[in-house]
Structure formats: C-alpha cells, structure tokens
Amino acid sequence: MGTTASAYLTGFGRYLPGEPVDNDGIVARLGGDDPVTSRIRGMILDQNGIRQRHYALDEHGEPTELNEELAVKALRAALDDRGIRPDDLRMLATATTIGDVLVPGFASMVHGRLGGGPMQLLSASGVCASSLQALDAAVGKVKLGEHPRVAVVGSELASRSLRQRRFDGIRAGMDSHFLRWMLSDGAGAVVVEFQPHPTRPSLRVDWVRHVSLAHEHDVCMRAGMDGLEPEVGRTWQDVGIGDAEASGMFVLRQDVGVLDDLAGAGLREFEQLVDIGLVDVSHLDHVVCHYSTNAFRDLAFDGLRKRIPTLDTDRWFSNLETCGNTGAASIFIALEEAWRTGRFSPGETILLAVPESGRFSFAFAHLTVVAPPEPQGATT
C-alpha cells in the first residue's frame, strides 16, 4: 500500500422544500383526517417528537418538486458554501431511498440537472445508511488521489409514498402509520476534497464504516412486496400496477416490533468500534446521530453514555424535531446545521452514526475538525 491523501469535508449545504409544516399542517398535505387515523397520528407524533418538517407537496398534497431537484439544490448550496462550481467536481455520489424514475440511476439524473463536466457517478441506494455509503465511496477515491473534489448528496422525497391516495382502500396497520407520520422530504450535501479549506476549518474524515447484519435479520422496512419475504411472481414488478397499489405495495412499511433489536444491534456495533480503538471515547467531543424518533434517542444516548460517561446532551446533536426524519438526507442535514451554527472547534472529534432499519445495517464516520492551513507567502 502506497501513500494516500487525506479527505476533508469543506462545504456543506442543505435544502428543505417549502415552508416548515407543523403538526397541524400535516393533514392538509398527507390526508388521513378520519378519527382513527388522527388518533394514531397524534400518538406517533408524541412519540417521535418531531415538531416540524418539510414536504415537497403543496397545501393540497400535490407534488411541487422532484427528488433530483432537492438533491441539486442541496448540492448547489454546498458548492456555494465552498466557493466552487459544478465544473470543479470529478465525482458525484448520491444516496436516496427511491429516485424519481426507475431508470436511469439517481446520480445520472442529478448530474444531468446539476451540470458541470465529465465525472464519475455512484448511485447508492438503500435507506438511511446509503448516505454514508456514498460518503465512503467519495472519501475512498479522494484518499487514493484519484479525485481531488467530490460532492456527496443524500436526498429523499418520501412524501409521495405517504399521501392519502396511497392509503385509499388499503389496510394500514401500525407498520405504515409509524413511517407516514415520521418521514418527510429534504436533501443534504457535502463537498469532499484532498486538501482542507484554505481559509476556514474543515472536517477531516478519519474513517467511514458500514456493516450489514442482513444475514441474521428479516426485512424490517420495505415497499414493493407483500409481507417480509419477496416471492417469485409477487413483487410490484410482477403483479399489475393496480393490484400492487391496491395491496399497498407502494406504502412504506416498517416492522415496528423489531426496532428495539435494531437499537441494540447498533449499540453493539458502536461498542465494537470502541473496542477496536476506532473511537477513542476519552477524545470524542461530538456525536451526530440519525434516529427516527426521540424514543430511540434516549436508548442510543443511554447506550453511548455507558462507554462515554462524560457524554452530555451538549455534545449530542440532532435536528430531528425541526427538520423531520429525512432518511438518507438526515445525517447531512444535521451535520450542516451543527457546522453552520458553530458547534465544532479545531481539534475536536465527531462521530456520525446512522442506523438503518431496512434490513439491519449501520454506518459510522469519524471526523476531526482541522484549522485552515497557515497562510504562506508567495514563493517567487
């Protein structure tokens, strides 16, 4: 193995469509105003603690933007923050749960809309952790010295799957209600470079890790099939589209009964990172954690505090309550806000943590805040 470069996050951007929607404004967009649904919604909102979110839907529930548009707006914000243009990028890595179209890949569509020059693309698809899978690919290429500048974006337009028309005439259990009143839309982006930002602090990416436990877990979050096991001839692509919709295949569902297991498995993965020395708990200054509801915040926080007794709520950052759960976008939307609001100082370390319920996977990244290089005089 030869010498590698370092990778730095030098630009941060996010885009949240439309005005923030408070809890009373949800029904106008997503529907579900019958008494039973209203009761369930109230209960779930109490539990998840989300006070406001954004939807790419107008007040009648009609779509206002494409997912790729959200992605491009977040990318432009990140590029502006760094002071570079799409032409300066050599690679784009995107993460989303469901793009706008079946084919081609999301990254192709985002690149087409963003513009710039020729570049390498990666469309990471999955759920929440695809965000850090995309980041990992970008960081790897930058460290190898193959690309000087890469942009990474996580983008979600989940509201299409949450609208009333998806629920008309189908049996909606807790497995769909839970997500319907939790997910929302948005995009977050970062710029990754082989050199730190010339005039202000950057976040050096020390490592990114992703692990799947799908070998020992059933599907938890899904769409496009009935039940937890895909069956030959019975996925959404096999049956008629009308039948697929009627049987609720286009509704996002989550097996809420196994979410406690998910939290436990995530904490075990974190413990492993500590045990093998990737996380030095005596020098961990910040944790930016993606979680779907505040119920898991408390679980995760207590779990982390077992290993980091000094961890207090000041060092823990999430904007779930004000930005909602935006899936693959959420970790970048949270990181952008933490960065912009001045939470980080040079020398400090940050752990990003993203559990994904899809079929049990977990992603982590470790960052160090670095000061800008000392200004140097001209050499000639």
């Binding site: 010295g145 050199q195 050499t379 000639t380």
Partner: protein, 239 residues
C-alpha cells in the same frame, strides 16, 4: 528501462578513443557542474519552500504546469539529436532513439498528476513555456541541430540526474507537506527509477572511451548551460 543498445556501447564505432583516466576527469568536471547546480537549486524559491515545509498545493500545481510545457519537448529534441548523429556515431544515435522512445509519453504522467490535484487539462495544454523553459528548450533544439551533437550528453547528465537524484525526494517531500497520494506524484516518483536507468546508460557511454577531449569540453559546457537554464525554468515559474 535499460536496453542493451546503450549498456553495451562499444568502442568499435567511435571516432577516436580515450583512456579511462580522461573519462574520470570528465566525470569530475561534470560532478563540479552538478555541485554548482545543487547550490543554485537550494536558492530557488519553490524548492526552498519545499524544504522548509511552507510549500502550498498551488505551488505544486504551478510547478507541474511549468514543467509540463518543457517536458513535452523532451522527446522531440532527443529525436532531433538522434537524426543528426552520423553512422560513425551509431552508438549515440541508437541511445538517443531508444531514449526518445522511452520518454515520449512521460508528459502524460505529469498531466495525470495535474488533473489528480484538481487542475484543468485544457488549461494545462493551453499553457505556454516560462522564460527559463523557452531558453532551455530553444537551446536544446538549436544544439540538437548540429552535426553529431555529442555535447548533449552533458544535457542528459543534468536532466536525467535531476530525475534520478532529486525528483523522488521532491515527490516525497510534497507528499509529506501537502498530504498527497502516490497517484498525485507519479511523474516525480517515476523519474527516480527511469532516470536512474538512463543515467546508468549515460555513464556507460561516458566510460566507453568514445569521448575525446574536444567532446568532453563540449559535454561539460552543455551541462553548464543546461544546469543554469533548468534552474532558470524553476525560478521563472509563470513568467
């Protein structure tokens, strides 16, 4: 790559032979030129910044940009020299042909490094030579136009010597100061190996006894001029 064409340079086709003692004297005279060059290089601003650890990524980018404009001429002047060696200088002709062939794609490696650190290939290719590169390139082509331009062995001594003895050190230092990956310093890393082989070939020719006194004087003079102009190229970045 070393080829046996040069490594086995024979005396049979040489115009006049010299004794091993004269070859040693030539080596000493060239070594003296080299010492002078090293002293001058120590004062070149970008190399001083590199040594002091204050060099920036823009400096490295500028260096590659400036070098590229002259490196693309390397193989052409060697080829031109090859065409001007008559049959009595077959060994030198063969060596020059081989060398030109080996180097004619080197600039692509430099271009790849330039792109890998964020430079634009279009801008790099649209670049012009700096004052030192103009002088160096002009001198090399003019010299290569002479019949039997034996003195160019002195140019080789300087240019290949820089590649073999200094380039990898520069690469390592740029990597250390700027945190660069191997993929971003190919050109300089590669030259340690390749030019090490070339200087071996050159030494074989110098030791072969085919260099007479007049040729030795030409070689030393050419080395002096090229050493000065190469340093000038590094001093006159972007000008």
């Amino acid at each position: 790559m070393t080829t046996d064409t040069t490594a086995t340079a024979s005396t049979a086709d040489a115009p006049g032979s010299t004794s091993p003692g004269e070859s040693a004297a030539l080596s000493e005279r060239l070594a003296e030129v080299w010492v002078g060059l090293e002293e001058r290089l120590d004062r070149v601003p970008i190399l001083r910044a590199l040594a002091e650890g204050t060099v920036t990524i823009d400096d490295y980018r500028r260096l590659l940009f400036n070098l590229r404009q002259q490196v693309v001429d390397g193989s052409p002047w060697i080829s031109r020299a090859a065409s001007n060696f008559d049959i009595d200088h077959f060994t030198l002709r063969a060596a020059a042909i081989t060398h030109a062939e080996e180097e004619h794609r080197d600039y692509l490696m430099l271009e790849r490094d330039y792109v890998a650190i964020g430079g634009s290939l279009d801008e790099l290719r649209a670049g012009r030579k700096n004052l030192g590169s103009e002088a160096l390139s002009g001198y090399m082509f003019t010299y290569a136009d002479r019949p039997n331009p034996v003195g160019l062995l002195g140019a080789m001594f300087i240019i290949e010597g820089l590649g073999a003895k200094r380039a990898a050190g520069w690469a390592a230092r740029f990597q250390e100061v700027l945190g660069l990956a191997d993929n971003q310093v190919h050109f300089m890393q590669y030259h340690q190996e390749a030019d090490g082989a070339h200087t071996g070939d050159l030494q074989a020719i110098l030791d072969s006894g085919i260099i007479d006194d007049a040729a030795a004087d030409e070689i030393v003079r050419c080395a002096e001029v090229v050493a000065r102009l190469y340093a000038l190229q590094l001093e006159e970045l972007d000008r």
